[in-house]
């Protein structure tokens, strides 16, 4: 298993067809259909991500055939073809925008058929879109996974991509393929090939054990990072995904730390006895925005990611915390109770121009700026704890969830899905959930134990 979790491994993304042939990797033996999407009317298939409740699109993802059954460290290529189809199917289903047919009940696609779909058959299944592909073991130990998207009614190819992966990264090829389908049909950015860092929780709520853990966004490749001897809270990915900033109670001195994913080493960011918490990286990774409490007063600071002297950004007699940079790094949204209750404020990155943006009634906390820049997600405390979004000016507030204890949103890399903590009344049991911007598709992300403070990482390169 060790080789399956060993940090960042290269994943090559290739356009199938001529480029592959030029590199000496033979494309599937059947030529692409002559009719291209550019001919005539634009392809009719489209999925609306943010609109009202539209019916999910029926889609078929049959097992991926292999030109030759070969054994690899990740399993035989025919078994991999079946698993890849299942992963693509799960990703698309979990988005809430597709209703995939069961791969096991679909036609057994043979290799030459990958680029020449049996459209008559697929039309009879009710599927509007078809994803076919193949998996092949290469002589150098890598795997090539081909991924083709077809419009079943128009009988045209909409997208094709190939991925060369190490056996350890085989699941990523499925996520990349699902991202290809999702982006082509929705016009939104990809998010399936990404990871989530979170806090694993176990035990009763007055003696809860908390450990940093990391997993793929679908819960696979789960790995614990800390041993649970100290409380750990609020992890966040560095933009380059090589480290995680979080808060730890190690040595009974609660403070922010950076965990290096490559070495497993942790280092404290700010020295001194003051409580430091709520850390976030700047979009360029050069700074860490955080809160520091001194003599009962909490303000926002930033410090170089390598450490050094913090620079104070706010100076109010209240609790200023939960800071989050805009994607261009020029502004910061944060929460403050300077006006009596927790509300959201936006300011310039140097601390100037502080302005309240939340006026909807109730308390607002844990603001997070979307990676697309268009929205700010937050926790709204009004009756229950709910996840909501508003524009950076405070307009267009929408509440996406309604529960006893939803808290701490974090954006998927495409800014269209949010992961958050859902805690149960009574036991306080914590689970990791996600919801899309329609608020309709809320679902639990599976974790081995309880889970809190999820932070969605960027799309993987």
């Amino acid at each position: 298993m060790a080789k399956f979790g060993s940090g960042l491994l290269g994943l090559l993304c290739l356009m199938l067809g001529t480029p592959l042939a030029a590199q000496g990797v033979a494309p599937p033996p059947v030529a692409a259909p002559a009719g291209d999407a550019q001919d005539g009317a634009p392809p009719p298939l489209e999925v609306d991500v943010t609109g009202g409740i539209s019916a999910p699109m029926p889609i078929a993802v049959p097992y991926l055939p292999t030109p030759a059954v070969q054994s690899t460290p990740a399993g035989s290529t025919d078994a991999l073809g079946r698993q890849l189809a299942e992963i693509i199917t799960n990703d698309l289903r979990n988005s809430g925008l597709f209703t995939p047919l069961q791969p096991a009940q679909l036609r057994a696609v043979v290799f030459p058929e990958v680029t020449a779909p049996a459209f008559d058959y697929w039309g009879g299944t009710g599927a509007q879109a078809l994803v076919q592909g193949f998996v092949r073991a290469n002589g150098d130990g890598t795997l090539t996974v081909g991924c083709y998207l077809y419009d079943v009614f128009s009988r045209i190819e909409l997208a094709r991509q190939g991925f060369v992966v190490t056996p350890a990264d085989w699941r990523r090829a499925a996520h990349k393929c699902a991202d290809t389908v999702y982006t082509r049909l929705t016009g939104e950015g990809p998010y399936f090939d990404s990871r989530v860092v979170y806090v694993s929780e176990t035990g009763p709520k007055n003696r809860r054990i908390k450990r940093l853990a990391i997993m793929d966004q679908d819960g696979a490749n789960h790995r614990f990072l800390t041993n649970g001897q100290s409380i750990v809270l609020t992890p966040r990915f560095a933009p380059n995904q090589q480290s995680i900033v979080y808060m730890s109670y190690v040595g009974d001195q609660p403070a922010i730390y950076v965990y290096d994913l490559g070495s497993g080493r942790q280092r404290r960011v700010v020295s001194g006895a003051s409580l430091t918490f709520a850390p976030r990286f700047s979009p360029d990774g050069r700074y860490i925005l955080f809160s520091m409490a001194q003599n009962g007063n909490t303000d926002l600071y930033r410090v170089s990611a390598s450490g050094g002297q913090p620079q104070r950004l706010t100076n109010s007699p209240g609790i200023d915390t939960g800071g989050s940079y805009s994607p261009d790094g020029r502004r910061i949204v944060f929460e403050s109770d300077r006006g009596g209750t927790q509300q959201l404020y936006v300011m310039n990155a140097d601390g100037s121009g502080q302005q309240r943006i939340s006026f909807g009634g109730g308390r607002y906390a844990t603001p997070v700026w979307s990676p697309r820049g268009d929205l700010i997600a937050f926790t709204k405390i009004s009756g229950g704890f709910k996840i909501g979004v508003m524009s950076p000016s405070g307009s267009g507030e929408r509440v996406l969830t309604d529960a006893w204890g939803d808290e701490g949103p974090s954006w998927a890399p495409n800014g269209r899905v949010i992961t958050y903590l859902r805690s149960a009344q009574g036991s306080g049991g914590a689970q990791v959930w996600s919801v899309d911007l329609t608020g309709v598709n809320a679902r639990r992300i599976p974790t081995p134990l309880g889970g809190s403070d999820p932070s969605w990482g960027p799309i993987r390169p």
Binding site: P204, A273, L275, F277, G296, T298, T379, I381, G408
Partner: protein, 173 residues
């Protein structure tokens, strides 16, 4: 809302009274409360700790003060009269043992967001610290630590949350 708050504070006071090892020194006796058992000390330095309890120890502190815990109202860090009385007793004991150091833990209930509650717990611990300092305890003897909502007492509901909104003075041996 005002009456609700009053009920919560009464609840908190009852919890404190129920947890105290000794009869409260300042509060009137709770209804139905009986006299302390014979042989239990009534003062803070009356020699009644001679049963194996080391003077100036954490055990001595817990036995001698009305409570090691003060409670706070919702989203508040104000020291109310009940808390004052408790902290006065702690200050008196700390004056007896000037070399003893303490840590004040600040806590919040689960009905606040995690990071805000870390700051709120810090506020509460510092409120208690500042009060003790004002009563003559050298601030250099007092460390604070906020646990936010990470160490609740374990219950759920309004009474449990009232008990969770607390600052606890812990003697460091």
């Amino acid at each position: 809302m005002a009456s609700k708050t009053t009920i919560l504070m009464l609840g908190a006071a009852l919890v404190v009274a129920g947890c105290a090892k000794k009869r409260p020194e300042v509060l009137p006796p709770a209804p139905g409360e009986t006299a302390p058992p014979a042989g239990t000390g009534t003062g803070i330095n009356d020699g009644s700790v001679g049963t194996g309890v080391v003077p100036g120890s954490a055990e001595d502190f817990r036995r001698s003060v009305q409570s090691d815990t003060v409670n706070f109202a919702l989203d508040s860090y104000d020291i109310d009269p009940t808390a004052r009385a408790i902290l006065d007793g702690q200050a008196t004991w700390l004056a007896q043992y000037p070399n003893v150091r303490v840590t004040i833990e600040g806590h919040a209930d689960e009905r606040g967001t995690r990071e805000y509650n870390l700051a709120l717990g810090d506020r509460r611990a510092n409120s208690a610290k500042n009060y003790l300092a004002a009563r003559g305890v050298d601030a250099g003897r007092i460390t604070t630590i906020s646990y936010g909502k990470e160490r609740p007492l374990g219950g759920s509901g309004e009474a449990a949350w009232a008990a969770d909104r607390r600052a606890v003075t812990v003697v460091i041996n």
